[in-house]
């Protein structure tokens, strides 16, 4: 395996880490206005992600940094080409990050921060899928790899469907997290469990829709693409994960349902990677597509990065074990906490 392919896989792993982990706190943020009715319930939702959301978001920053370092032309093309979309993601992430902290201290602006938390979770969750859908379907690039379409040129049916599927899996992930994390016997958890079932069904429907559209209208864009069989295997695992998630939820096995939906998220990333390989951004002309071999940094540069990753990744795993162990156990919904001032 060459270093280019190793980094293609590593960035995929980082995206999976982000999708699975920040997925549940973005999803919790989207469900927040719908499942949490009282102040105590709202606080419980915030507490359920409070200690971990910041670390979860770092996965995105790491994936972005790794893309910059390993495949700079793809990073430059996607971030500048999808400018307004990326900026919307950014604004979402900014208002969401501050809303959680400010909400805990500024009661009189609480409504504003609740809205920011919701909107800031929703917008990125939707747009990540749209961006990946566009990379897969292809966008017009010039000879230097600059996007030459408009903002609305990005909002075509297939990318939008991908966006909805991404959003749906993220909401499911949030519902699975809250179902598993919120204390047993509370109304909040009951609502989260209802949302979970609904979103599992929505995810399954959207997955079928995306698959149908992909095979009929998009398909492999590269001559050297991986065999179709690989994509079918991924699809089978994905369907199995959806079914297992559904069954686990039905039997009240909350952590199993969470893990099954995490596998759905991971398999979606794998599916996109398989469908895209060896492309990173498909061009519909006039310029060439950006593939991972021409976009890759130098062998020396990638070697340095690999060494840094070998030091960093074990540490990151240790940190995660520490934080999730420290904050294990259910979150109570405690009534009767009146606010001062």
């Amino acid at each position: 395996m060459t270093l280019e392919i190793l980094w293609f896989i590593l960035i995929g792993v980082l995206i999976c880490g982000y999708y699975v982990l920040d997925g549940f706190d973005l999803g919790s943020g989207i469900l927040y206005p719908f499942v949490a009715k009282t102040d105590a319930e709202k606080r419980a939702v915030r507490n359920a992600i409070g200690p971990v959301w910041d670390g979860n978001e770092v996965w995105l920053l790491t994936a972005g940094g790794a893309l910059f370092a390993a495949f700079a032309p793809a990073y430059a093309t996607v971030f500048s080409g999808f400018y307004l979309a990326i900026m919307l993601v950014l604004f979402g992430l900014i208002i969401r990050a501050v809303s959680l902290e400010f909400r805990a201290h500024d009661e009189s602006w609480g409504k504003l921060w609740d809205i920011c938390f919701f909107v800031g979770s929703l917008v990125p969750a939707l747009l990540f899928g749209v961006a990946l859908g566009n990379c897969l379907q292809g966008v017009p690039l010039d000879a230097q790899g600059n996007y030459i379409g408009s903002f609305f040129g990005l909002l075509t049916p297939f990318p939008l469907l991908c966006g909805l599927l991404g959003l749906s899996t993220i909401i499911t992930q949030g519902a699975c997290w809250l179902s598993a994390k919120i204390a047993d016997g509370t109304e909040l958890r009951a609502r989260a469990m209802t949302a979970r079932v609904v979103m599992q069904v929505v995810t399954a429907v959207l997955f079928v829709a995306v698959t149908v559209v992909f095979f009929n209208f998009v398909g492999f864009r590269s001559e050297q693409h991986l065999p179709l069989a690989a994509l079918i295997v991924v699809g089978v695992v994905l369907v199995a994960a959806i079914v297992v998630g559904f069954l686990a939820a039905g039997r009240g096995k909350n952590w199993a349902a969470f893990l099954a939906n995490s596998l759905v998220c991971i398999m979606l990333v794998v599916a996109i990677a398989v469908a895209l390989f060896p492309m990173l951004v498909v061009s519909t002309g006039p310029g060439p597509s950006i593939d991972l071999f021409t976009a890759a940094s130098s062998t020396y540069g990638l070697t340095v990065m690999t060494i840094i990753a070998c030091i960093g990744i074990p540490l990151v795993l240790i940190y995660h074990v520490i934080i999730y162990r420290t904050f294990r156990g259910p979150i109570p919904v405690e009534e009767g906490h009146k606010k001062a001032d």
């Binding site: 507490n47 200690p51 670390g55 978001e57 770092v58 920053l61 790491t62 972005g64 940094g65 893309l67 910059f68 370092a69 495949f71 700079a72 990073y75 996607v78 971030f79 500048s80 080409g81 400018y83 307004l84 990326i86 604004f91 992430l93 900014i94 208002i95 990050a97 501050v98 902290e101 400010f102 805990a104 201290h105 500024d106 230097q144 790899g145 600059n146 030459i148 021409t294 940094s297 020396y300 540069g301 340095v304 840094i308 990753a309 030091i311 960093g312 540490l315 990151v316 940190y319 995660h320 934080i323 420290t326 904050f327 109570p332 405690e334 906490h337 009146k338 606010k339 001062a340 001032d341």
Partner: protein, 490 residues
């Protein structure tokens, strides 16, 4: 308005605006991170509830500021790709890896252990809690190291070669250690970190002064003044060699920047101006100066001659800053120097307050010190302004011009739109941050002590009647360690 349609100007404006804003919060959190760690360590050793309350106050202020730093930092990481696509294509092989390393080695460390500090007080041992505070600070120092490696490489690039690729010329890394430890890295790192610690110390002094002027908690005030004064003194002394080292590297490796800093257009021994205005038409500076001092500081001799901007421009047309950029560089540099002078005076004042007896009962020193955080604040902002504007017209010195580094696919109207949105969002965030910051300071450690006392009282009176509920309260660890307004009214 031509400027409003100028993509290069708008891209620079957006970057300047977002980085300056980001750098309002980063210095605070790195500076205050040290005080968080120190105060938690102290509380761990003494087990005194008052020390405990002090530590909690620092944690509250720190996390509030840190969060805004994190949120506005995402902008910076995205901006290279969104607004500087050609730059990213050119430097990806070198500049990307410090960014990735920063996230992998520093951000995870900071964010995970900040979670422990904020939510884990009742969940981890006191010792682990203390270690977490130091790890958060270590994480922020590491993060600063990686990003300053990246910035220093733009100032004095090393360990690379230029290579033609199908997508145009790009820099390729040939020696990681030469690139990472380029001439500017170590001086810039020391200079910056020390400045941020001074900033933290001055915030500590300002808060102490506020309490003193409102006749609150004498013991706390004295302790804070002592800590602030000692940390500021140590950092202030360390700043001298660090700043000197930095200036020397600029003189050796970025002579054009040095010339811009003193507004020097002709070859001569370089004076140091106290204040002044560059007459960019005539190529002279109007203002009082000490002849030859800059030459002396850079080379050890008052007579060493350095080339001026006109000479560099004659050698390589278009390689020196514009008239406006020279003026900005000159003014920024001199504001920084003047502010350093102010900082030294305030440190002396703080030492007298902390260890002398005479001034302690007077009010004016505290009134003054309450606002003196402005000095390190301006010094930091204008210091960076000097470094970045003085590097123009280059984004990577000698290799890539800022002009050629933009995103060709981003039009001016979209930039205007995002600048407007940034302005609104950042303004609201600033107002919200300030409201809460001032509330924290106003509440002070007293409120935390009071809230703790109430909690204890409640737990003991309710114990018999409501055993069930109490056990759930004492086991309610998800409640934020700093969310006293919630606990206070129980």
């Amino acid at each position: 308005m031509e400027l409003l349609a100028d993509v290069v100007f708008l891209s620079r404006f957006q970057f300047a605006m977002t980085i300056i804003y980001h750098f309002l919060f980063v210095p605070l959190s790195i500076g205050l991170g040290l005080f968080v760690a120190l105060s938690i360590t102290r509380a761990y050793k003494t087990k005194d509830p008052v020390d405990e309350a002090h530590a909690r106050l620092w944690v509250k202020i720190f996390t509030l500021t840190f969060t805004v730093g994190v949120a506005t930092g995402i902008t910076m990481e995205f901006s290279f790709g969104t607004n500087w696509a050609n730059y990213s294509r050119f430097v990806g092989d070198i500049f990307g890896s410090p960014l990735a390393a920063e996230a992998l080695l520093a951000f995870f460390l900071e964010s995970v252990f900040l979670g422990v500090i904020l939510f884990g007080k009742k969940r981890v041992s006191p010792k682990f809690y203390m270690v977490s505070a130091w790890l958060v600070w270590a994480g922020s120092l590491l993060s600063a190291l990686w990003i300053l490696i990246a910035n220093s490489w733009m100032q004095t690039p090393a360990g690379y070669m230029i290579e033609e690729s199908p997508l145009g010329a790009k820099a390729r890394i040939t020696d990681f250690f030469a690139a990472a430890l380029n001439p500017q890295t170590v001086p810039t790192y020391l200079h910056t970190i020390i400045a941020l610690i001074i900033m933290g110390a001055f915030i500590c002094l300002a808060i102490a002064s506020y309490y003193r002027l409102h006749d609150r908690n004498d013991e706390f005030v004295n302790k804070m003044v002592r800590w602030g004064a000692i940390v500021a003194l140590v950092a202030g002394i360390a700043m001298m060699p660090a700043a000197h080292m930095q200036a020397k590297v600029v003189a050796d490796d970025q002579p054009v920047k040095l010339a811009a800093m003193e507004g020097q257009y002709h070859t001569e021994s370089v004076p140091m101006y106290i204040v002044g205005v560059v007459d960019t038409e005539a190529g002279t500076v109007i203002g009082p100066s000490i002849p030859g001092l800059t030459s002396f500081l850079a080379s050890g001799s008052f007579d060493t001659e350095y080339q001026g901007l006109d000479d560099f421009e004659a050698e390589d047309p278009g390689s020196t800053p514009t008239a406006n950029e020279v003026q900005i560089t000159f003014q920024s540099y001199h504001i920084m120097i003047v502010m350093m002078g102010v900082i030294c005076l305030v440190i002396i004042l703080a030492l007298v307050l902390a260890f002398g007896k005479k001034l302690k009962q007077k009010r004016w020193p505290y009134k003054l010190m309450m606002f003196m955080w402005i000095a390190p604040f301006l010094a930091i902002q204008f210091g960076w302004c000097t470094a970045e504007v003085g590097r123009q017209p280059w984004i990577v010195t000698g290799e890539l011009k800022t002009l050629d580094a933009i995103s060709p696919s981003v039009p001016a109207d979209q930039l205007l739109l995002t600048i407007a949105i940034f302005f609104v969002i950042y303004l609201v965030i600033f107002i919200a941050w300030l409201r809460i910051f001032l509330k924290f300071v106003k509440d002070g450690p007293e409120k935390i002590i009071e809230a703790d006392a109430k909690k204890v009282a409640k737990a003991s009176t309710g114990a018999a009647a409501e055993a069930q509920h109490v056990s759930s309260v004492s086991e309610a660890p998800e409640e934020r360690g700093d969310a006293d307004q919630e606990g206070g009214a129980k």
